[in-house]
Amino acid sequence: MIANTDEARTGYRNVWVVAEVLGGQIQKVTYELLGAARSLANDRACEVWCVVMGHGLDGQIEPLFHGGADVVLAVDEPRFAEFVDEDMASVLVRFVDTHKPEIVLCGATTRGRALIPRVAVAANCGLTADCTGLSIDPENGDLLQTRPAFGGNIMATIRCSNHRPQMATVRPRVMNALPADTGRTGRVIREQLLESEKSTLKKVVEIFQDTENAINLADARFIIAGGRGVKGPEGFQLLKRLAERVNGAVGASRAAVDSGWVPYNHQVGQTGQTVQAMVYVACGISGQIQHLVGMQSCDYIIAIDKDPDTPLMQLADVAIVGDLFEVLPEIVREIPRT
């Protein structure tokens, strides 16, 4: 809503986190956002609310208080076992209208990025995608949102002074969850999906969920990625062994995906996913710009290549000059099983 006066803006209060629920489970990113929300709420002297839309949420509310929420607004609804973004957006818009939060945060996941833009348009407020930094402007209390643009080549700071609430999505692993404080409790508000909010436009007819093998590149601390130099699907088995050893995920360059060696949901880069792992091991990836923009924000980059002069070998923190088929098994050998 337009809120271009101080008076209008004071009508909006509290920091909200929209929980990420996958397969009935609240995901880690939710706790990371609660951590960020807590610090913003301290600056604004207000509460942290967590909105949970899902099904079978029993037992999952308390931990949200331990993670920093003061109030949990929960909709436990069979229909929400599926991702019906239209209905969820309608519910959220109603909540926003009723409770008038000042800030709304959501995970920049496939679901979050589908849901929140719908809400922002309907609620007539600004939305900033993939924020890597959030702070409060001490002068006027606006939310300052920092995000990378042009594949990480520019950091832009964005504000949204004349509309409330201020909405932002944040990628997994960017913010830090608070240590669970089991002494904390809070208030639960149970809400319903209204009949009028049930859209007839979408029917989810089949769900394939592979939580065990989920390619959650966004969430992985370690990513072992392969490119053309991996030479085929057998080569990727080597990468997988290292990934299993360090509890990481397997990524791939576009060349490897286009050759059919690995499915598309492993692709890192401009036409795949942007990742922000703690450690990124690039095996036989020369590092075309389209790949680099998807992984340059990783904390620690290791490259393994026969050619010492590739862009990735230059970008890397550690560049191992050698045959990845010889080096990878040695690395696996050096890391004991846990």
Binding site: P233, A255, D258, S259, G260, W261, Q290
Partner: protein, 275 residues
């Protein structure tokens, strides 16, 4: 190819306009002029296929749309592995219809915008990705006896590997060979000629003065003084050193250079006979 060598017919490489050309009309006209000039000289016009991974129009569609008239046996189409199956079949059908018989089958360079043939597309079961070998087999199987299929040879690649690849290409049906650009001579090309005495070979002559570009094209540093490099002299040397070979001219200048190479082959040959 043997016929071209015997009749001293140059292979002249012509690049179709790039897809992102901002002056397409002018580019089309230039292509038409070059094509017609090569036809008029009785040389063979060799049309590239997205050279260096740059998106360009296809030789076959250029001929069809611009209503060019290929002379029998004087057009060679490059064909690489970066196509959809539909496009590949369409190109082959067009070649067959237009009676274009010579195809240079290469693996080629890809780019983000180019599709890549899959093993299933060409009925290959034993490989992870399609190379010129699989493409050769496919064309030979689908169009038996229709085309004369040639392959590329890169003397700058590790030798053993390159010869092993050549063996597979010959097995798959290649019946002529075109080398990467050679300056004067190359010992690995000599070995190639020794190894395949019965297969016609054309050596490629780099006709641009920009020798740095050549290093980029072949992926290896070609040691040659850029100041003193003289393409036409180098071409003469190729004729002298490889009298049994045809010559493939890349980046030939059509404004001045073309006139200087016309009749050059005959001239060098008669000089050699005289001496």
């Amino acid at each position: 190819m043997q016929h071209h060598i015997e009749n001293r017919i140059y292979h002249v490489e012509v690049l179709p306009p790039k897809q992102d050309s901002e002056k397409l009309e002018a580019d089309l006209e230039r292509f038409t002029n070059k094509f017609n000039r090569v036809m008029d000289s009785g040389y063979c016009c060799c049309i590239t296929d997205n050279a260096m991974g740059n998106l360009a129009f296809q030789g076959t569609e250029m001929i069809e749309e611009l209503e060019l008239e290929p002379k029998p046996g004087l057009v060679m189409i490059h064909l690489n592995t970066f196509h959809t199956k539909d496009d590949l079949d369409r190109i082959l059908e067009s070649c067959k219809e237009m009676k274009i018989e010579q195809l240079l089958v290469i693996s080629g360079d890809g780019s983000d915008r180019l599709p890549k043939l899959t093993p299933a597309d060409v009925g290959a079961t034993d490989v992870e990705s399609v190379t010129s070998v699989e493409l050769l087999r496919y064309i030979r199987r689908e169009y038996p006896g229709v085309f004369e299929l040639g392959v590329a040879f890169n003397p700058y690649e590790p030798e053993e590997h390159e010869f092993a690849k050549m063996e597979r290409k010959i097995d798959a049906g290649a019946s002529f060979i075109i080398t990467q650009p050679v300056i004067d001579n190359h010992p690995v090309v000599d070995k190639l000629l020794e190894k395949y005495p019965d297969i016609p070979v054309a050596v490629e002559a780099w006709m641009s003065k920009n020798i740095g570009l050549l290093s980029e094209a072949v992926g290896y540093e070609v040691a040659e003084d850029p100041e003193s490099f003289n393409p036409v002299e180098t071409l003469k040397n190729l004729h002298r050193n490889y009298p049994r070979c045809g010559v493939y001219l890349s980046l030939l200048g059509f404004k001045k250079q073309y006139d200087r190479i016309t009749g050059l082959w005959e001239q060098v040959q008669s000089e050699e006979v005289a001496s």
